[in-house]
Every structure is written in C-alpha cells, then in structure tokens.
C-alpha cells in the first residue's frame, strides 16, 4: 500500500537534480491543506468506484505516494501538489481497474456491491452544499436555454458542438454561460464558507497524518 507509483510520476518527467526543489519543510501540513481544498477529488473517486471503502483505500494510497514524493523533494512544484494528487489518485484508480478483471460477481460477492448515491459519504464530501449552490445558479439563470445548456453538458455528458447546434448557440455564448456559471458557483461556495469546509474532516485527517506520519500511512 505504500509503494511509490512510478507511473504516476515517471522519473523521465522529473526535472534535472539541480532543479529539484528542496523537500518542503512540513509536508504533512502541506498535504492536509491540499485535502481541505480538493474534496472534489474524493467525490470523483467515490463516483467512479461507487464504494466508499474502496475510494478511501485508493485515496489513502494516493496520499501516501504523494507524501513520499513531497518528502523526498521529487515534486517539482510543491505549491501545486493538488495536481500531483489528482494524477496519482486517478492513476491508482486505473491500476485498481486493471487488476480487477472479473467483470462481474456471483452471489457470494453481494457484500461487495457498489454503494448507492445516498451513502453518507456523499454528504461528507460536501455534495449537499454543491447541490444547493448549483440549484441557486440554475434558478438565477435568466434564459431557460442556458439552463438546458448546463444540464446537457454536465449531466447528460453531451458534446459541446451538438448542444450549440441544437440550441442554436454560438461557441462564444456556450463558453460564456459555462464560465459565468462556474464563477458564480465558486462565489456562492466561498461566501457560504463551503469552499474550505468540512472542518471535521480536516481535523480528522490532521490527526491521522500526525499519528501515522512516521509509518507513512494516511487513512481518509
């Protein structure tokens, strides 16, 4: 569980040794602040595996790998450790899927079935707050066509060109609506304090990091 994932950050992509920054002074607190700022990553893994336990395992492995790289100074841009965390976590997810080739389970594995959308883990990552912000944005949109645009792009996963064609929109209009919505979304969450929310999780993570830091283990 603590093995460094070379594929996540291939040695060939690292800068020359002379350019490698010194290890960050306090990698644990550095990483804790990253978790605080990226609950979406946790939601993303949870969505992809639909199993809170498995999602926690994948994130823990990603955290350990990233922490090791931080400590050893392998991360070229420590100020952007969130990017490494995304890369490592999604790489661990891919590795997990490569190993799990069964494709289906029999009745003996019913206990391992994926979780549901009403799992409390969804609440813990902050999804109710995101939903409230998204609802407010949809309600505020003056044009119903713009609301449809957002739903089709983000929910139905439809192609941008197809949406523009069917709604008779220019690409500029499409981009404008998307980015206004995204900015508004961020603004609402920041104002309500949800952007840096989940203080209990932060405290829990911090305690886990401190307790298991020496062993290189982090439990989400």
């Amino acid at each position: 569980m603590t093995a460094v994932d070379e594929q996540a950050a291939p040695a060939a992509t690292l800068p020359p040794k002379s350019d490698v920054p010194a290890p960050v002074a306090d990698p644990v607190s550095h990483l804790t602040s990253v978790y605080r700022d990226y609950p979406g990553l946790r939601a993303l893994i949870l969505r992809r595996v639909r199993d809170p336990e498995l999602a926690a395992d994948i994130l823990q492995d990603a955290a350990v790998t990233t922490l090791e790289k931080l400590r050893s100074g392998e991360i070229a841009h420590p100020e952007n450790v969130g990017g490494y965390l995304y890369r490592v976590a999604l790489n661990h997810l891919r590795n997990h899927r490569r190993k799990d080739r069964t494709g289906l389970s029999s009745s003996e594995r019913l206990g391992e079935l994926p979780g549901r959308d009403d799992d409390p883990d969804w609440d813990r990552v902050g999804r109710p707050q995101w939903a409230a912000a998204a609802r407010r944005i949809l309600d505020e949109l003056p044009a119903l066509r713009d609301r449809e645009l957002l739903l089709r792009f983000y929910l139905n996963d439809e192609d941008k060109a197809q949406i523009c064609r069917e709604l008779k929109l220019s690409e500029e209009h499409f981009n404008r609506v998307i980015f206004r919505a995204r900015n508004r979304f961020r603004e609402i969450l920041e104002r309500r304090g949800f952007w840096k929310a989940d203080l209990l999780s932060i405290i829990a993570i911090g305690i886990c990091l401190v307790c298991s830091g020496a062993a290189g283990g982090i439990r989400w």
Binding site: G40, L90, R152
Partner: protein, 227 residues
C-alpha cells in the same frame, strides 16, 4: 493558463477517464504545473456532482423539462402529448417480459423469508477480456444486474440476452423501458431452468441515447453439478 475553448471538454473527459493514454499524459503534465487548471478540474467535479444530486432529487429533470416546454408551440405540444400517449399504449406491451427475461421478480417470491433469487450476477464494464464462468443453479430465479454505459435516472434501457458465440447467436429474450435502479444498475430476471450451460451475451443499451454504444457482457454458464 486554462484554455476556455479546449479545456472544458478536456477536463470533463479527464475526470470521466475518456482521454487516450497520450492525451491523458499531456493533460496531467499541465495539471501538475498549472494550479489554475487543478482548481478548474476541482470546480468541474463539484459542479457536476452538485447537479447530479439535484437530478437525484428530481430538480434538474424538472428544469430541463421546463426549458424544453417553453419552446414548444401549444398546439404542437398537445399533438405531441397525444402522440406520446398513443406511442406509450403501443409500446407498453413490449415492456412486458419477453422470452426468458423478466423485468421483475414474479409475485410471491419477493417479501418472504425464502431467498427470492437463486443466484445474482452483476455486470460492470472493466478492462480485460476475460469471460467469467458462472455457476448455473439447478432451479429458481437468476437476477442479472448490469451497469449501463451511461447512467441516467430518467433513461429507459433495453436489455437483450443471447446464447452462443458471434457465429451462432440465438436471441433468448429482450426487455425494453427498463429503469435504472437506485443502486445504479438495471435489473432483470430469468428462470434458471430456462437456461442451459453454454456461452451467453447480455447487452444493455440506452433507449434515449442511440449515440452511446451498448454495453456487452459475455459470460459462460456451467452446470452446478457438472464441469
């Protein structure tokens, strides 16, 4: 620097795992260098999840419906409603059990202490070409649970079961207008005695999105008592 025109699709495809190996590596190279891009990816995930929760609560679906209805001229809407009703009446019999497949457990089997199904098989698309070998129970009901390529609460799905390989494919049953379950799977059932040991393919397609390729799950059934 985030490129608004290009990165919207890239971010969505990255988080959905749809980029090619090369595209993914290039995107991740940018991701570890550009804090702005990480924030935007994070933002996308949160917004998308927020919308998904709204959809689960029924809100987003109502919003989309409202958006569409406004554009429709009233007489056209009335005509469409009549046509939809006629279509529903015409199509409805097709949603009844077809062939060996059933859309629901037979009455009497559910809600009792007796196990409702003899075996449950869950199909999820994963990497790898291994064809699983499953044990065919001697009797009772088999429950199939399949994850569609696109999970939409409002979609109607079509499930077909065929026996044999590509050359000797025999249709055994088909169900339409199946809904996505709360667990994210589409469910259907078959009587174990209607199936024999051999090769099978279960297909699941979205009735509302023809552009999405159906998922195909090949599997082999073997006798519980024999090889």
């Amino acid at each position: 620097m985030v490129d608004t025109r290009r990165d919207l699709d890239r971010m969505r495809d990255y988080t959905a795992g749809r980029l090619s190996e090369e595209e993914r590596r290039m995107f991740e190279e940018r991701l570890v260098r550009d804090p702005g891009l990480v924030r935007e990816v994070e933002q996308s995930v949160r917004f998308q999840e927020g919308l998904r929760q709204l959809q689960a609560q029924g809100y987003a679906g109502k919003g989309a419906a409202r958006a569409s209805v406004r554009r429709i001229w009233l007489p056209v809407a009335a005509a469409a409603a009549i046509a939809a009703l006629a279509f529903f009446v015409w199509v409805q019999p097709r949603s009844e059990p077809a062939g060996v497949l059933r859309a629901a457990l037979q009455s009497g089997s559910a809600g009792t202490n007796t196990p409702a199904v003899a075996a449950r098989f869950t199909f999820v698309s994963l990497r790898g070409n291994a064809t699983p070998v499953l044990e065919l129970p001697a009797g009772g009901t088999i429950e199939f649970r399949a994850a569609p390529a696109l999970r939409e609460a409002d979609s109607a799905y079509r499930v077909t079961l065929t026996q044999g390989d590509e050359a000797t494919m025999t249709p055994l049953g088909a169900l339409t207008k199946l809904a996505l379950g709360a667990d994210g799977y589409v469910h259907c059932y078959a009587d174990a005695t209607a199936l024999a040991p051999g090769k099978y393919v279960l297909r699941i397609a979205s009735g509302s999105k023809a552009s999405v390729s159906p998922e195909q799950f090949a599997f082999t059934l073997r006798s519980a008592t024999g090889p």
